[in-house]
Symmetry: C2
Subunit: 397 residues, 2 copies
Amino acid sequence: MKVIGKIGKGVKKIKEDDLEELKYNLLLDYISKKVDISEGKRAVEDIIRVIYRHQPISTKKIAQKTKLPLPIVAKVRTILEREKLLKRCEKGAELTEKGLKFAENVLKLKYKKSLTCKTCKGRGIVLDEFFEEILNKVKIWSKKRPVVDTSLDQSFATPETSTYRAALMYERGDLEGKNILFVGDDDLTSLPTALTNMAENIVVVDIDERILKLIEKFAEKENVNIKTVKYDLRNPLPEELKEKFDVISTDPPYTVDGLKLFLSRGIEGLGNEGVAYLSYSHKPIEEWLLIQKAITDMGFVISELIPNFNYYEGSEIIANTTFISRLIGKDLKVNIGDINKIYTGLVKPVIRYYKCLKCGKIYKVGDKIKKVEDLVCECGSKKFKMIKREKIKNQNE
Amino acid sequence: MKVIGKIGKGVKKIKEDDLEELKYNLLLDYISKKVDISEGKRAVEDIIRVIYRHQPISTKKIAQKTKLPLPIVAKVRTILEREKLLKRCEKGAELTEKGLKFAENVLKLKYKKSLTCKTCKGRGIVLDEFFEEILNKVKIWSKKRPVVDTSLDQSFATPETSTYRAALMYERGDLEGKNILFVGDDDLTSLPTALTNMAENIVVVDIDERILKLIEKFAEKENVNIKTVKYDLRNPLPEELKEKFDVISTDPPYTVDGLKLFLSRGIEGLGNEGVAYLSYSHKPIEEWLLIQKAITDMGFVISELIPNFNYYEGSEIIANTTFISRLIGKDLKVNIGDINKIYTGLVKPVIRYYKCLKCGKIYKVGDKIKKVEDLVCECGSKKFKMIKREKIKNQNE
């Protein structure tokens, strides 16, 4: 919110109300600076607005609705509590009287209804009976998934998400009779896609053999046709897959180089032109600008972009939700960046602290022990909860 | 659709079925080439799919659903009829038996349901009672609009469209307490926006005095606050409006230079950062790539893009529907192109032939007579119907 006088109402007189407003605006500035992220002020405004409209509301729900990372939301929430604008109640965050006054007098909020379509949850498309049946099957198969490998930036989309993706592809005419390549498929989107029996060919490439084996087992039991290829994307796409596809689908690591690499291998599969379904995290503007530039340079136009389309099991750091975009490409050009920086763990190394759920012992992960999946407690338990996360300073920082 | 053998099934044997498929594929190629637009093959596929799913269907509806210009759809339709794939029935286009075979055996279409959400028509948001009431008021005011001035690329969005735009702004947190600038407003989006009584300030700049007068009358009668400024966007934004706004909204002329100019004046209003609602026509990839590049260069990210969000009264050339996108900008940079090429009439000059609805006399518009609004028939009538449209060859072409 820019603080200006009423336009066209002449010189602004300082009245008591204005002083009150000024005081609160300084508070907004103060909180925004404390948060220390690029969209500080907007982030704080968004969080307060979401609480105002939906209170009481959990931190996770705030993160989903604002599309901000959970740690940021938690941080803002703590500051707002300290400033007595917010209180915790049983069901989540609620504005205090002071907070309400702040929301209504400074942010000028007044209306609380949500206009997001309840039928489609804002996705714009719905599942009919045919796709609902597919979803039910996908739910069963999703339970058989291996544990996530965080070193590969894995995080599993919900069965609803993968089925909605297949439904979107159908609706846009990118499924029937098409050759479809999944560039990485830890989300198992190939499952609902194959269950439609609409595609001409479905191929999944992935580095994780556990995922591929599950897909193969699925294809056998459900009697559908999916070809799997174990393949490290850091190498060029196998010759027999080049220029063979009409459509690609990918949910790459959420780094600029990850996106470039995954889309580029997709382009090798598409050849000169085709359609790409790209799922990606809601990023700060600076980073999203780099990505938009990379996408444009490759020759893709963003023909559609639906926020909050994808939801994931567990992955709280990314607010649990990402967007899907439908890209259409012509005169496509491969654009590979630094293949050593594709995973977030390599770009922004972090140490995570995990607590054993059985005996309470705390372990450090990310340094000597690379991933939580490798962790076994002295007491024999393999169940842990992440309790803290801290960045490792790069030498360049 | 790429024609490849089943992947992994070894050498392809040519069977009778394959020959049939090959023959039909040659037909698809042949038709696509005849259409002579950049996405020839995809356009033909899209049109056939839309007819397959929704037949019988009018040409206008096909254009809306495929987002293709009406003249292209009409051309493809004629070719498909000539090839006996399509027939006309009372309610619109229908596939013949040959057409159905083509759709199912070559394009491999098999399912006919539409998964677009019927509640929100794919927009992802709905109007509640409060906004429905606003819509009713907007409908009444919209009837008072002047006739479109095609030389300014005017074409009026429906009252539903402008109200949905205001609803979207509310839902995304870009309305309450915000200073909003409409960079051109022949769509009258400022009306529903003002009727919410949520914005801090609303300013409309437009070159067309008729539009501004209507808005002023509306503001007076409905007792809402809208400031209007008559202003030719080819000049810099008036000093008192610079860096005063949080949000801008624009539906510029559908040329690259038109978009650059309108967004740039918006940026002058926003200053360093802010949100822009951009409505724009679904364009061929080459042109949309230029636009995506221009948007990125200005410092805007596309945080959301909803196809078929906007509908217009009459304007059939653009298939009657355009998308809306929510852009978020940071470190914004003005990027003005050739201000003499902002209107489509200047970029792609056309001659239109109009027939008097009373006496039948035919007039040429676009040469000596610049626009149909200036046309009066010898018989005294001012009502005309466009019957033909042809491009004027540029000297550079």
